[in-house]
């Protein structure tokens, strides 16, 4: 009995390793290219590993004033839009989890539908809207767009969590003389920390990775966020693939780590009640 069991586990492990290797292979190419000196980018046939490892590519990128400007834009836009998402989603999610009111179903429905619409579909409308408001090329436009499109996920995930907190806890707090706001702040929110962390990380990453709206609205090179900025390392005129990928590694490593933290909650939030 034990023999086939061991063989099966071994086969599964091999399959798992193969899967990991194939998923990571492109990103390994990215990392190794980021470590090549310029001259080695143009070798035929291409080599996977650098001949001389040029770690200073990363320093070049980090000390590049343009890269710093993009990084700053990304940080400003992602942080501000995440803050707005949390401030708006928390009360909305709490209220819909605790109260039944006319239009509640319609409200939740609308929230769900917005999640299906990437800003991509509406980008022409968004552009016209901000053009008419004279907000093209401003952080405000990008922050508002990101906040609006990430709100749905945050409301759904928080609402599900608030609904799972027993009412008795809040009633006990009320008996002890806590007001509504105090109950929310000192009882409900601390309990909902996992959901808040998930919503925060998700909103931050989504804004951090956003591309099409930034590409459309931010024509001023200094205000571009990372996603748009780093593509200028490789154009028809210059091809600094090593710098592009060094910058990419810097941009995605923190995101992947954060993402790993919330992985198990993501499916719940994104499928919004579909898989249970």
């Amino acid at each position: 009995m034990a023999e086939p069991h061991v063989a099966r586990r071994r086969a599964l492990t091999v399959a798992g390793v193969l899967l990991s290797v194939s998923v990571l292979a492109p990103y390994l190419v990215m990392l190794l290219t980021a470590l090549k000196p310029d001259a080695e980018l143009r070798i035929t046939p291409p080599r996977l590993f650098p001949v001389s490892w040029r770690v200073t590519n990363f320093l070049d990128v980090v000390s590049d004033p343009e890269f710093r400007a993009w990084l700053r834009s990304s940080l400003v836009v992602a942080s501000a839009s995440t803050a707005i998402v949390l401030l708006a989603a928390t009360p909305a999610a709490y209220y819909t989890a605790r109260h039944r009111f006319p239009g509640r179903a319609a409200f939740l429905f609308l929230v769900l539908v917005t999640q299906m619409f990437a800003p991509t579909t509406l980008v022409v409308g968004l552009y016209r809207e901000f053009f008419e408001l004279s907000l093209v090329n401003t952080y405000t436009a990008l922050i508002l767009t990101n906040a609006a499109f990430n709100l749905a996920f945050a409301i759904w995930i928080l609402r599900a969590f608030f609904a799972s907190i027993p009412r008795e806890l809040e009633e006990a707090a009320a008996v002890d003389g806590c007001g509504r706001v105090r109950t929310l702040c000192s009882i409900v929110l601390p309990l909902a920390r996992p959901a808040l962390v998930t919503a925060t990380i998700f909103a931050f990453i989504a804004a951090w990775n956003e591309y099409i709206v930034a590409l459309t609205l931010m024509t001023d090179p200094d205000k571009r966020p990372l996603t748009v900025g780093i593509t200028t390392y490789v154009t028809a005129y210059v091809q600094h693939w090593n710098h592009l990928f060094a910058a990419s590694v810097i941009a995605i490593v923190p995101v992947v780590l954060l993402f790993a933290l919330i992985e198990r909650h993501l499916v719940t939030g994104l499928t919004a009640g579909g898989v249970k």
Partner: protein, 271 residues
């Protein structure tokens, strides 16, 4: 969220100069002009191929991956964790990465295939009309796998273990048990994964935008990049016409959303 949609519809009913000045209302004129666009049939068929192929291939592969990652073996969590990378990395970074991997002269793909003797000479994956769509679809599948696999894993987690045991006791072969027990129970998760993937893949912009960058015209565009080029890049710079494409896209997604909501029956799920 709703306002840009209104602006989009309004924009689709007007004519604009290339600098964005409103030049009067044209009613449904933009839609009529859209139907007359030479590229439209190509773009529509590209979109259908793009969405159907990616979703179908992704689902089949993800079913296998979910089954693998649902089994117990040492290091499973590490494997699950690596699967996150293409999901978390920004699409534009992954797209640029594949432009480099597919590169005619210096790309590692040609290097490896020619080195192994699979190909006699390098292939211009992104410049050749016959390969560019498949090359883009491969990237589309690659980035869709993690999310889909995770949804299916969540579905598998809801299937109680005794069901599998009962099938085994009844003498069902593993494949038979999978087909007649696991798959039917996985149906809700599959439907959700399908519907969401259709929406995400339809909306996908960076892959086609980046990998198809070198090719002129609209021969390999989907509805989304077609709309974008009309509005902001091509010689047309025609915001009114692009908005008309946008409205059509919104309508198509609404149909997909309606199908999605029907399948998940969201009102029940909520209770």
């Amino acid at each position: 969220m709703v306002y840009p949609a209104i602006v989009l519809v309004r924009t689709s009913l007007a004519r604009y100069s290339i600098t964005g000045r409103h030049q009067g209302w044209v009613g449904l004129g933009n839609y009529a002009r859209l139907l007359g666009q030479e590229a439209l049939p190509t773009v529509v068929s590209n979109t259908i191929v793009w969405v159907l192929t990616i979703v179908a291939v992704t689902l089949v592969l993800s079913l296998g991956l979910a089954q693998l990652l649902n089994a117990r073996f040492p290091g499973r969590n590490v494997v699950r964790w690596t699967l996150i990378v293409p999901w978390a990395a920004s699409l534009i970074v992954t797209s640029k990465l594949f432009v480099w991997i597919y590169d005619y002269y210096f790309g590692i793909l040609n290097g490896a295939l020619v080195g192994l003797g699979v190909l006699g000479g390098p292939v211009d994956w992104l410049g050749n009309d016959r390969t560019v769509m498949s090359a883009m679809i491969a990237v589309g599948v690659f980035v869709s796998l993690p999310f889909t696999t995770y949804v299916l894993l969540a579905g598998l987690a809801t299937i109680p273990n005794d069901v599998h045991e009962a099938a085994r006791v009844d003498g069902a072969s593993p494949w038979r048990a999978y087909r007649s027990v696991t798959l039917p129970l996985l149906k809700p998760a599959l439907l959700v994964a399908t519907a969401l993937n259709v929406i995400y893949v339809f909306n996908s912009f960076p892959i086609v935008w980046t990998l198809n960058d070198r090719n002129p015209g609209f021969a390999h565009d989907t509805m989304i990049t077609y709309m974008y080029k009309i509005a902001f890049r091509s010689g047309l710079r025609d915001v009114g016409l692009a908005a008309a494409v946008g409205v059509v896209n919104v309508a198509l997604i609404l149909v997909a959303v309606a199908a999605y909501l029907r399948t998940v029956n969201w009102r029940d799920a909520e209770a």
